[in-house]
Symmetry: C2
Subunit: 226 residues, 2 copies
């Protein structure tokens, strides 16, 4: 027996993993960053093979991990988590800094960062596991709490993008008891579902400048699904 809800009991943080250089940089939102050895200090990052950042990490032999703060904006998470660097330049209007390896490090909405030199790559099917050796680690903001994936899901109502290791097809999890009087609207960018029954506000009554709480897309990006 496999109860899908079990998978939501695993604890993760939320990070922006970046690579490239000052001319061409990119990043993606990851929840699978973790230390694998302490001597030397090595970290693993799991990355979908289709991600543009995956090719940059292999080319530049380095990556950075920005540890998102609990109050990180939906716009930043939406930009790095639900859009492709092949279509937009994600680094525009984002504050980045450079340290040891010359990969761009995102500092917006982040409380700390790690920078690693790539030392190994493992193939786990649809994803790579990149192993990096720590070359730089700095705290940016002492006071903020790290954003956890549980907080993002429960408080910010976010869920995994299609390319994430933890992606679950939402249609399998949607509630079976529907309120026939209320409607649901789905964000075409990230898949977030606005449920009138749950929110107690009609979608049409939301202000025109309302944005998707998960990815920051506009109201016009929503499609009625029920």
């Amino acid at each position: 027996m496999i109860q899908l809800e079990t998978l939501h009991k695993i604890s993760y943080g939320l990070y922006i993993v970046t690579s490239g250089d000052i001319n061409e940089g990119n990043g993606f939102v990851s929840n699978t960053v973790f230390q694998v050895t302490s001597q030397p200090q090595r970290f693993a990052v799991c990355c979908n093979k289709d991600n543009y950042t995956a090719s940059l990490i292999q080319q530049h032999k380095a990556f950075a991990v920005s540890i998102l703060a609990q109050d990180a904006s939906s716009e930043l998470i939406g930009k790095f988590g639900y859009k492709s660097g092949r279509e937009i330049d994600k680094m525009t209007d984002v504050k980045v800094i450079f340290r040891e390896t010359n990969v761009p490090i995102v500092v917006d909405d982040s409380l700390a960062f790690l920078e690693c030199k790539l030392v190994d790559v493992f193939d786990v099917g649809t994803h790579w596991i990149f192993i990096g050796e720590l070359v730089c680690a700095e705290i940016i903001d002492e006071k903020s709490e790290p954003l956890t994936y549980a907080y993002y899901r429960e408080v910010k109502k976010g869920f995994s993008p299609k390319n994430a290791p933890t992606y679950i097809n939402q249609s399998k999890l949607e509630t079976k008891t529907e309120n026939v009087m209320s409607k649901k609207f789905k964000c075409a960018v990230c898949g977030y579902i606005y449920d009138e029954a749950e929110e107690k506000v009609k979608f049409s009554d939301l202000p025109e400048d309302w944005v998707c709480p998960v990815c920051g897309s506009e109201k016009s990006d929503f499609i009625e699904i029920s």
Copy 2:
């Protein structure tokens, strides 16, 4: 620059990873369990090469992950986290169940578990990364919150055992400003430090049945260090 405090901003859960069979079972406390792919559902577990459980996982080609609840006892964490299965039978007095692969699954103090067949092993130096394909996942207790490593560190005052990927030599982190009037006592089993200045209670005034809040060892297992 490497600021060690940065490493504490990475979010983890806490788990008991087990392997073996009904005759010979063992397990260890891990904070590095994470999903790596969703199609198929595969999980990674990082394990010190010296751990007895590492050899059992390779021999039995399977492992289980029990997801600890927030109120998990210090005794259970102490037994699985700070003692070796080469010296004691950790499965004595612990409730275990068996599902698809016949590895023992710890259900005490756990809210859910995963069971995986071993599909790959990667060498990351002092540790292995075991990759398992999910064959069983069940919720045991719907109501409990998962124990996170941050909660364990901040509320339960625990820290990484020597074999953990996230181990930091505590002497590097100890406070520089010492209260000359107060003393410190270190648990010889897990390394937890009882600091009279912080606790506001003299160690000698603690009741004789007081136990280490991290690993459950007795008061007599503590050694004065300052």
